[in-house]
Amino acid sequence: MAAVTVNELHIDDLPWIIEYDESKCIQCGKCVAACAFNAIKPAIEQRKKSGSITEKNKFEKVIVIKQNVSFAEHCRGCGMCVRVCPNGAIHVKRNTDDRYSVRYRAAKADSVKKGGRSNLNTEGRTLDKIKVGRISQMTDPSLDAVRHTFELKTPFGRVLSADKLGFEIKNDTIIETKKLPPNNWIYPIIMGDMSIGAVSWRMWEAMAIATAYLNEVMGIPVRMCTGEGGIPSKLLKSKYVKYMILQIASGHFGWNRIIDAMPDMTEDPAGILIKIGQGAKPGDGGMLMANKVAKYIQEIRGVPKADLLSPPTHQGLYSIEESVQKMFLSMNAAFNFKVPVAIKVAASATSVSVYNNLLRDPYNIVGGFFLDGLAAGTGAAHEISLNHTGHPITSKLRDCYLAAVHQGRQGEIPIFAGGGLGQTGSFAADAFKLICLGANGVFSGRLLLEIAGCVGNDTERCNACNTGLCPAGIASQDVCLTKRLDIDKVAQNLVNYFIATDFELRKLMAATGCSALPIGRSDALITVDKNVADRLDIQYVC
């Protein structure tokens, strides 16, 4: 009987298995060179010869491609080898009997870490169960998506109710009598917050270029959030900073530079976003593994090369009152009360309480509520957080909006919703539905990665952003890998996607007869799912 080892990691424990057709292989080596994870290697196999065989040359040596079997080096299913193979000699196949995550924990006494997204998908997508069902007909005619003018801007900043604006009437005209919280009018879709570090500087630059182009050339006032990781000084001091929302999270990474640059800034940023939590891994702080902390990341963030683990909470802020008084006030003061300061939290069973408290803050200085659902992406997280914590965005957004309606305060703190938007292809459809449910706008980060060429998906493909070995050069700081990313091409794809999304958003607005954003217009939505209808207070249809 042959000796069998059952406790070692084996190829059939791995999530992906390489299928290799030696007869098609020309041994060019491209697949091995392309593999960021070192998951395949050239190897020599001894084979029994066919044809005339003598005792002496019974066997022959054959060069083949083999799969590495180790926790550090194994296939993530990214398919880069498939892309580069000239003859289709190599393929990756999902292993439905995968035991990797059990094996990893048993061998390493450590949590599994991943990037990208949650992979369990037990919830299904509520947004796909909702249709835009109130189509204008006859007396309330549909509009022309191409020729009609549409208002696609929404306020970002604290909005006061009309009776608190302090208006006075002089000569039959309203005049302002007091300083009011800053409001910026922005496009309802925001490029989500991904830091330089979580993504490569090339990816970040492509997003920044796309943002500037969309604003300056296309007239689509999209704002981009920097993520917690700073922003290049040159950009800070340029006029383009007005399109950027600067993020501050619990690690405060990059803020030394921002503060240093303030005297030289010629424009105010579009806003400040204080990140308390994120949807993909609620309860955790940011996580940037040491292998992604390149030299320039160290410089921007002012840190040594080490795992950068932001705390799960902002030190010193243990209540909403404190956060209002300390952080919001200081961030407002930093930009002379001219820049809206918003908060980003992970959707949670407690979101309504948080939102209510912010709504009732007597200082009126919270200028936006970014609510992030569980299907959002992340650069790195514990798998347990990614797969088992979080709250879907749709019902929580609705809860927050209806809580405001209940108090007659809808719109006072604009809500921006995110978390897996565009997952099934159309950002515009998701945006429209969430806006109808009460969002002023939406945001997404992971969709931008997919537009840029990310090959990850929601069923365990790749999701190795945490390794720093992103095969698409998006979530990596490795010089060779990031070279794979064509900055101009990515910027162009992002611009194109937003142009398409802008049209599609108009298309839905046109069909429902809305020439302005239908914020809270839930009568436009229907669903065939009774539970969804009851939960969201929209029309059930069958």
């Binding site: 208002e151 208006f167 009011l180 409001n183 007659g408 809808q410 020439s515 239908p518 009568d523």
Partner: protein, 368 residues
Amino acid sequence: MCRIGAIKSKKYVYPSMALKLMRSQQEGHDDSGFAFVMQDLGGIFESYKDLPCLSMAATVKGTRLAEDILHDIGFTRVLQWSPDVNNQKGLKISPMPNYIFEVLQYPKSHKYATKEEKEELLIDTSLRLRKALEEDNEGFIYSFWPDILTLKEIGSPKDIGTYFGLWEDKDEPCAKIITAQCRQNTNYDIVRYAAHPFVLEGYTVLVNGENTFYEKNKQYQQGLYKGYVGFESDSQCFLYTLHYVNKILKWPLRYFMHVINPLSYDSINKREDKNILLRIKASLEHLETNGPNTVLSVTPDGRLLCTCDSKKLRPVVIGRDDNTVIMTSEVAGVNDLLPHRDIRQDIYPKEREMVVVNNDLTVERWQQ
């Protein structure tokens, strides 16, 4: 589609004028009802302009219920007018048993009350009456305000006119402002309350069109003021917004347009008053109606307004002579009533235009 009309005259005019105005536009409406509001009343009502006038249709039980409530609060009747109904066979009308139009004296407790306190009493009383009558479906309170008389009924406008004797120009009722609509078939249930014109605290509104943002308007208005009730028609939202902007916020009338049809950010940004308009746009975002609609309104001080939305998909014309101004959906109506006017003076408002007719019948046009 609705057909609506408003008449403002230097002399007292009769509901027959409103009936005639609507008759010539019959092809544009479905002939399913008739409702009118008269303001600046004449005839026997002329001497009581400061006292509240109750307009109500009710069952016998409902009438008693209402009288008991009014008595309980301390109101005393000063004048009552009941139309002589012509109950001939074959009329297409679903009449209520009683139609009450009465002028009441304020309770003694309000003898020295301020204007605001009296107004508060009137709105509280109308809400109480409405609630009491609604419980067992015993009737409808149409208006309870000084110098205003309202009638709404289901049926053929011609027959409603015959039933109430409105085709004859008798002394009662007459007024210097009459607004009217000949349609009951709203987008929602056929309910008397759902018929235009809608009245609240001296403001009257009629709408030809839709309120695309009805849902969000309604959600926002429900918490704004106790008098914003009913919402049987999406058009009531226009009335409540006009009342909110002009009476509660005390903003000049032209800002009503900036609330229901806000300009785009880009247009506002080019204006000198951009700071104000952007604040209004943000703060009252939930009162935008997003067209398509033409709104006719009357203010408590007797001015007539016409506002057209940004899409201008609803017709309206304003015709006038020295004594009368008529705003209505089709020029056929004006031609019938003012055939000898100078048609070159007719106004066809454009998109985003507000036309105001002052009490001396001077006309102001204001482009948003």
